[in-house]
Amino acid sequence: MTVVALRPKAKTMADAAPKNVIDVNELSLVFQTNDGPVNALSNINLAVGGGEFVSFIGPSGCGKTTLLRVIADLEQPTSGSISVNGMTPSEARQKRAYGYVFQAAALYPWRTIAGNISLPLEVMGIPKAERKDRIARNLELVNLSGFEKKFPWQLSGGMQQRASIARALSFDPHLLLMDEPFGALDEIVRDHLNEELLKLWAKTQKTVVFVTHSIPEAVFLSTKIVVMSPRPGRIHEIIDCDLGPERTLDIRETPKFLEIAHRVREGLRHGHSYDAAHL
């Protein structure tokens, strides 16, 4: 009955506001630590539209992972407001609105690859026949067909991370939250997975929010780059990255790519010097 009551409300909200998947307004988050309060996020304003690929980039401590975790309802903001699909993050999480990919693959070692991809489907009570179907489909999407019966520890790091992406996609969320998913991988594997991720994004039309500390990765993947700076964690600049939908690794040599990368680098440097002036 609550579902019936909620639906029209959610709809009117979505109609009233512009069609943003994520809306963040004056959001701040203060962690209480033993060394006193830490301003992890300060006055964040951000809108992410449907089908966008948005990257958060910044040095460590700038709050990019914290912001992603606030969107995922894994951290609670101290002030300000945030909506995900027109709901609170908590409601969005309960409705399984997003898939989350962590820094490590975090596959359960006692489950096979197929079993790991089946995990969210089991939690969500999807019947067995459909689970099987979805496992096959999503393994194919990340080029892991044939590895269903392997255990995670029998696969390379890159394959494990691909399996974890298949797991996040298995219940078909419209929003994909990725926290430095390729940070622990070597550059060759990383380039390859970046290309695959772009293809996947083009194929599935999902909205992606991607945390990284690599400038080329951010420019190569994104439609919008959010440059963040530390102490207190805040958004320094938002750079549009209109390199078009068809991107190959070669694009990284073009003047336009280099220009955007330069702007991101400048933005990061300014964020830092501002920080240094405060010190």
Binding site: R93, R96, F102, A106, P109, V123
Partner: protein, 366 residues
């Protein structure tokens, strides 16, 4: 060919035993054959290049020699064994040592052969422990009340199988297993409750540690007063001994899953029960099996010791305390043997189940 110093010493001892007096009565078959076979084994070890065939020959010769040396122990009616006999014994022992060393160094292609050789090593070790025990105790005439020879214990086991079985049934099949199941089961359930209710973790766990430190000799008489002298009181002692290892290990195990894995379940909107069943319990399994293994030995000890404080006229602990009083030390050793056998078999069984359940753990991965 580099000769092993073990083989050189063994050969010298075997050669000496051919000429030195053994002290055995009258010339008989064993009088000649025992030193001769030791000498033959030493010759094989020293002069035949190491190979699988020579290793098998050495193993056979050395065990026939041990058999003859034990047989020769019956021929010391007039005097104790003399220097020649001990030379043979030490020589045979060194040769067995050498054979085990060579067996341990072998690598087999077929996994079954490798498994067989892995099994043979502890069996050979155990066999030589018994052989030397037999020879030393009988050769030096150690009083059987201090330490009976293995042959005497074996004879006692063979002669009292019905009694041993009744004791085993009473102490192991009834008291230990019932107490183990109840203790481990309730420890497990308590751990889940403690994990769910934070104030219990702070309040109950320290008291749990206190109870875990209670000595079994203090608990057992009280349990006999509470539950009577039948097996139920022994099971109660076992419950008390096994409850807290299970509780503490399971609580630690439930905390073993990583923060990232738990966040993952949270992003799925998973319920408490789902997270428990799909993440935290599987992650806790290595800890739970640790407790099951610790408790399998504790249960047997608890059940046996508890019987010292009042029991019907059956049970392993009852038999041990009674037969010690009657100076029937061989029966005490027979019960010890049964307890050791039951203890290692149950431990082994739990280890096998553990391997099947926690196959994914880094220590078992293949």
């Amino acid at each position: 060919m580099r000769r092993s110093p073990l083989a050189v010493v063994a050969f010298a001892l075997a050669a000496a035993s051919l000429v030195l007096p053994t002290g055995a009565d009258g010339p008989g078959f064993l009088f000649f054959s025992a030193p001769a076979i030791v000498f033959a084994a030493a010759a094989v070890a020293l002069f035949v290049p190491p190979s699988r065939a020579s290793l098998i020959a050495l193993l056979i010769l050395v065990h026939v020699a041990a058999f003859c040396l034990i047989g020769l122990l019956g021929a010391f009616a007039t005097s104790g064994p003399a220097i020649g006999y001990w030379c043979s014994v030490i020589g045979a022992w060194l040769l067995a040592w050498l054979a085990v060393q060579r067996l341990a160094a072998l690598r087999f292609k077929s996994p079954n052969m490798q498994r067989l050789s892995n099994l043979a090593l502890p069996v050979l070790f155990g066999a030589w422990l018994l052989i030397l025990w037999e020879i030393i105790v009988r050769g030096f005439g150690v009083p059987t009340i201090l330490l009976p020879p293995p042959s005497m214990i074996a004879a006692r086991i063979a002669a009292s199988i019905p009694t041993l079985w009744a004791d085993f049934q009473q102490t192991f099949l009834k008291a230990a297993i019932a107490g183990y199941a109840i203790g481990c089961g309730s420890g497990f359930i308590a751990a889940i409750v403690v994990d769910r209710v934070p104030f219990l973790r702070k309040g109950l766990l320290p008291i749990g540690n206190l109870v875990a430190a209670l000595p079994v000799v203090g608990i057992a008489p009280i349990m006999v007063m509470w539950f009577g002298s039948y097996w139920e009181s022994k099971a109660a002692v076992v419950v008390i001994m096994t409850f807290f290892p299970m509780l503490v290990n399971t609580v630690a195990g439930l905390a073993a899953s990583g923060a990232m894995e738990r966040d993952l379940m949270r992003t799925y909107g998973s319920t408490y029960i789902q997270t428990l069943l799909k993440l935290r319990l599987p992650a806790a399994m290595p800890f739970i099996f640790n407790a099951l293994k610790i408790n399998s030995t504790l249960a047997l000890i608890g059940a046996i010791v508890a019987e010292f404080f009042g029991s019907p006229i059956v049970g392993m602990g009852f038999r041990i305390s009674m037969e010690v009083g009657r100076m029937n030390v061989d029966m005490v050793w027979a019960e010890i043997f049964v307890a050791a056998l039951a203890g290692s078999l149950s431990y082994g069984l739990i280890t096998l189940i553990e391997r099947a359940v926690t196959f994914w753990h880094p220590s078992y991965r293949t």
